[in-house]
Symmetry: C2
Subunit: 221 residues, 2 copies
C-alpha cells in the first residue's frame, strides 16, 4: 500500500467527518435548546456515516478487484481466440499516439511476442486498469471509517460539556473551523494546491453546510 | 460529459443519501419517541450532506482541472528546456512496455517530432492524466448534491405521516431497504458486478449503518 493511498483515505474520511456531524449539530442547535439530543443525533450520525463510508470503501475496493480479475481473464481468452483482432488493437494504440505505420507494425509484433506482456499492455493502456492491491479494500475501509470518527468527534465535544446548545454551538464552530482550516492546509500541500487557498476552501464548505443545516432546521422547527 | 460520469455522480450521491439519513433517523428512533425531532435532524442532515458532497465534488473537479493545467505548462517548459531528458522519458516508457532498443529509439523520435503530440503523450502515459472537461466540476456538484437529496427524502417520508417514531421506523426500514436493493441492482449492472449479489451488498451496508446508529443511540440515551 502506498502512503498516498493512506493519506487519500484519511482525507476522504476526515473531510466528511469534520463537515457533516458539525453541520448536523449546528442545524439541531437552531431547533433544540438542550445539548443531549444533539449528542445522541451526532453520535448516531458518526456511527452511520463511518459505517456507510468504511463499508462503502471496502465494497468499492472489492468490486475494483473483481472487475480487474474478470477483465484479465477475458483478455487472456481473447488473445488466444482472436489474436489478430487483439494485435490490431495494440497497433491502433500506437497509431493513435502518432507513430508511423512501420513502427506501429514492429512495436505491436514485439508486444505480442510474450502473452503476459501483451495482456498486461492491453489491461493498462487499452482498458486503463491498474492491478489493485489485494489487501487494499480492508485497509481502506478501516482508514476511512476511523478518520470519519476522528473528524466527527471534534465538533461534538463542546456539546458534552455545555448543556445549552447555543453556547455549545459557538465553541463547536470555532473549534471545527480551525480544524477544517488546518486540515485543508495540509490536504492542499499534499495535492499540490496553494495551501492557504485550499484551507479557505475546505473551511468554506464546512461553514456553508453548517449554515444551510442551521437555516433549514430553524425554518421547519 | 460522458453519460458514465453522470451515472457515477448519481451513484455517489444516492448511495450515501439513501444510507446516512436513513441510519440517522433509525438511530434517533431508538432514543426519541416523537417523529418531529427526527424530521428536523433528517432534513438538517440532508442539507449538510448534500452541500458537503456537492461542494466537495465541485472543488475536487476544480482542483483536478488546475492540477492538469499546471502539469501541462510544466511539460511544455521541460520539452523546451531539457528535450533530451524528456525524450529519454518517452524512450523509457517504450522500454518498460517491452519494446526492443531499435523500436524504442524510432518510436520516441516519432513522438518528439510534434511538440503538442509529445506533451500529450507525456501527460497521458507518463503522468496518467486525462484532460478534464471544463464544465464537469459544476455539473458534478449539482448531480451529486441533488442525488443525495433525492436519496435522503425517501427514508424520512414515513416520519412526516406517522408521529410515533417506532411505527415510522418500521415503514422507513421497509421502504429504504427496497430502494437500496433496487438501486444496488442497477448500480451493479452498470459496473459489471453480478446484480443480485451487488443489490444485497448495498442493502447490507444500509442495514449495518442503521443498526449501528440505532444501537449507539439506544445505549447513550
Amino acid at each position: 500500500m502506498h502512503s498516498s493511498d493512506l493519506l487519500k483515505d484519511i482525507v476522504i474520511g476526515m473531510s466528511d467527518g469534520l463537515t457533516v456531524p458539525f453541520a448536523l449539530a449546528a442545524g439541531l442547535s437552531g431547533a433544540v435548546a438542550n445539548s443531549s439530543i444533539i449528542i445522541i443525533a451526532g453520535i448516531a450520525e458518526i456511527a452511520a456515516g463511518s459505517i456507510a463510508m468504511g463499508l462503502g470503501g471496502y465494497l468499492a475496493g472489492m468490486t475494483e478487484r473483481d472487475h480487474y480479475q474478470s477483465e484479465l481473464k477475458r483478455e487472456y481468452e481473447e488473445v488466444d481466440r482472436v489474436p489478430e483482432i487483439e494485435k490490431q488493437e495494440v497497433k491502433d494504440f500506437f497509431k493513435q499516439i502518432g507513430l508511423s505505420e512501420e513502427v506501429q507494425e514492429k512495436a505491436s509484433n514485439e508486444i505480442a511476442r510474450d502473452k503476459k506482456q501483451w495482456v498486461d499492455f492491453m489491461m493498462k493502456y487499452e482498458l486503463g486498469l491498474e492491478a489493485p492491491d489485494p489487501t487494499r479494500a480492508t485497509k481502506s475501509a478501516l482508514n476511512i471509517g476511523f478518520s470519519y470518527i476522528a473528524g466527527g468527534i471534534i465538533p461534538l465535544c463542546p456539546y458534552f460539556f455545555i448543556s445549552n446548545s447555543t453556547q455549545a454551538l459557538k465553541i463547536s464552530i470555532l473549534a471545527t473551523l480551525i480544524c477544517l482550516f488546518v486540515f485543508g492546509y495540509f490536504k492542499s500541500k499534499l495535492t499540490g494546491v496553494a495551501p492557504l487557498f485550499g484551507a479557505l476552501k475546505v473551511a468554506l464548505i464546512g461553514a456553508a453546510a453548517a449554515g444551510a443545516a442551521f437555516g433549514v432546521a430553524k425554518l421547519i422547527s
